[in-house]
Amino acid sequence: MAKRTDVLLGLILVAVAGGWITAAYLTIPEANIPGTPGPQAFPLLLGLALALLGGWLAVSGLLHRTGGEVAAATEQRDPGFLQELKVVGTGFGLLLVYGFGMDKLGFLLITPPVVIVVLRLFFRERSWRKILANAVGLSIGVYLVFDVLLQAHLPKGDWIQLF
């Protein structure tokens, strides 16, 4: 039985490489010094390299043979896969919301809710005292270090400018 993950990954990489080569060919302008590689050359070369490597991965996955029962067991979907997808997807979404919130509401307004969500949703922390202490303490602490001490100027927000 073939190594299914390698075959699938290899094919995905070939598809990505195909898209990349197409995009590089169509969008990068020609502006090279005559006789030398221009700005398109490296991206096209890299796309080709990825296609070859992806193809090789898929082929070596097809050629890989394992014992039948063992392969069946290992090829089954990991029972935690959906849970992992849910947690990682939600975590990723939270980071995007954090970025959006920093832009529109500012660091000081968005950080406490994000901390609360992380502690409550991801870590199931029950003590609201600890949650709120963390949310407020971390937000103010980081603000004082970055904005006040280091003058790094954290985002104030477009919709509500708290300070």
């Binding site: 010094i33 006789g35 050359a41 991206p43 990825l50 992806g54 991965l57 980071l95 950080t111 992380v118």
Partner: protein, 506 residues
């Protein structure tokens, strides 16, 4: 002499000394906590250094590096879990020593050995780096291209999963590197009309995402795992003179071993530590005692893994080639503060180079004092709940990504890089080559195209230079050798499987 005095004044002032102390403390804490890496610590602290002058900024980062490498021994000895991969070999005899009630001796000897290794590697670095830089000054674009390709390909080829996956990682990283403005003619590439992408993907933002965010996701997924069985009532005991005398030559040999390993791209602390452990066992009068709490089993790996810090800085400072993720991050730090690593650093910024040397010495000494006398505090840190540490990391990632260029777009890039890094790790594609591609990719492409511009497009320029041919040849040989070894290993595994199947079917 003037440059040395100038470097001394940059490194010995209240701001720089405070930065070293803070860096060492943070590094020891991060190094001691299993699951956190000092590379991630350096990446998260990098934005904090923007307001600092170059040497205090690097003092903070070097403090984290050296402190972190030493701090890994704390949980290795007390918990049997290495705080950093480089401390994995320390577990073998360090934890048995702790079980026998000798935790204090193991911790004390570990820090002495670490600092000894760090200082020896600093001396070697001082002797070799400038010579190497002088040699590299004679290199043209073809030689620089070949050298950087060799360093980069070595790291892609020496991948824990497979050569193919390592090369895929490197290629993906180079593709990300091309996003933005072309380095030679200045036209936009793969930006799709976005003004945010014109500046490309920032190296530090990508590093924050790819090192820290996968760690955050793993903490979300494994929230119920706890670390237990920790005795917090422990202190580090200084070794006796007899113990120091008995282990002195072992420490010297392992320090030189670690320095040499560190100087080779793609290796690093874990390799040095295990090789040193093996060396210590072979040359011991009582090799049978190893694994059950032998002091030399702690001395060897701890000396070697800290010696790696100086060794890894040799190719970084003299050639501009980082050999591992940590030195890649350091390179980012140097570049942000206007110090371009490479041969010209020794020509144009010699006072700053001396400042760095003195800072490294200070960091080793501060680590010695802090870890010896602060061990009780660091041990308590091991009991910090993961949820509070993870939450702080999430906030630091957001803030760190934003403050690089005051751009919210970078926060989104950090999140995407984090998801990308996590997916890569799950697919057993290494992250290190991706980061190194972002660091070295511009040099690879620019020097390649410059070499061709100088010769009106003739590729013979790469074959007319002995140095270029040597490094390109080594690159091909190295990748070929790795691929051949992998194929041989797969063939052996297939043969063993077929024999097992034949036996089972009988």
């Amino acid at each position: 002499m003037e440059a040395l005095l100038s470097g001394l004044s940059m490194a010995i002032n209240p701001e720089a000394i405070l930065a070293v102390i803070i860096g060492c403390v943070v590094g020891i804490v991060i190094g001691a906590i299993p699951g956190l890496t000092f590379t991630m610590g350096i990446v998260l602290l990098l934005p904090l250094t923007f307001a600092l002058p170059p040497i205090p900024a690097m003092a903070l980062l070097l403090g984290v590096y050296i402190g972190g490498m030493t701090g890994g021994s704390v949980s290795a000895i007390l918990l049997g879990i290495p705080g950093t991969p480089s401390a994995a070999a320390t577990v073998l005899d360090g934890h048995p020593m702790a079980k026998k009630g000798q935790a204090g001796k193991a911790l004390g000897m570990a820090v002495i050995a670490s600092v000894f290794g760090g200082i020896i590697s600093l001396v070697v670095m001082m002797l070799i780096s400038s010579q190497l830089a002088n040699l590299a000054l004679k290199f043209g674009p073809a030689e620089i291209f070949a050298l950087v390709v060799f360093g980069f390909a070595t790291i892609c080829g020496i991948s824990e999963s497979s050569v193919t996956r390592g090369l895929i990682a490197g290629t993906l990283g180079l593709m990300v590197m091309t996003i933005g403005m072309d380095p030679i003619v200045g036209v936009p590439r793969m930006t799709f009309g976005s003004t945010d992408l014109l500046q490309g993907v920032d190296l530090v933002v990508a590093m924050i995402g790819m090192f820290a965010i996968p760690q955050v996701f793993r903490a979300f997924l494994h929230r119920d795992e706890e670390v237990g069985g920790l005795d917090t009532n422990v202190k580090a005991d200084l070794p006796t003179w007899r113990e120091l005398r008995q282990n002195f030559w072992l420490m010297l040999r392992c320090a030189l071993l670690g320095t040499g390993i560190g100087a080779v791209p793609g290796t690093g602390g874990p390799v040095a530590a295990f090789l040193a452990y093996d060396h210590a066992r072979r040359f011991s009068k009582h090799p049978e005692r190893f694994g059950s709490g032998e002091l030399a089993g702690v001395v060897g790996p701890e000396t070697a893994n800290n010696a790696v810090t100086g060794g890894a800085l040799i190719p970084l400072l003299s050639l501009g080639i980082p050999g591992d993720p940590t030195t890649a991050v350091m390179m980012g730090g140097l570049l942000i503060h206007g110090l371009r690593p490479g041969p010209l650093l020794f020509k144009e910024n010699m006072p700053q180079v001396y400042g760095l040397y003195i800072t490294i010495l200070l960091a080793n000494l501060v680590t010695l004092v802090v870890q010896l006398y602060g061990i009780r505090f660091f041990v308590r840190v091991l009991k910090l709940p993961a949820e509070y540490v993870t939450t702080a990391i999430v906030v630091m990632c957001g803030v760190g990504a934003y403050t690089i260029r005051n751009s919210i777009f970078d926060v989104y890039v950090m999140a995407i890089a984090g998801l990308f890094g996590y997916v890569l790790q799950r697919l057993r594609i290494p992250v290190t080559p991706v980061i190194l591609a972002l660091v070295l990719g511009v040099t690879i492409e620019s020097e390649y195209r410059r070499a061709l511009i100088m010769t009106q497009g003739s590729h013979m320029v790469f074959f007319e230079s002995v140095v270029a041919v040597l490094f390109l040849g080594l690159t091909v040989m190295m990748i070929g050798f790795q691929a051949f070894s992998a194929m041989r290993k797969a063939r052996k595994a297939r043969k063993a499987r077929m024999e097992t199947e034949a036996v089972l079917s009988d």
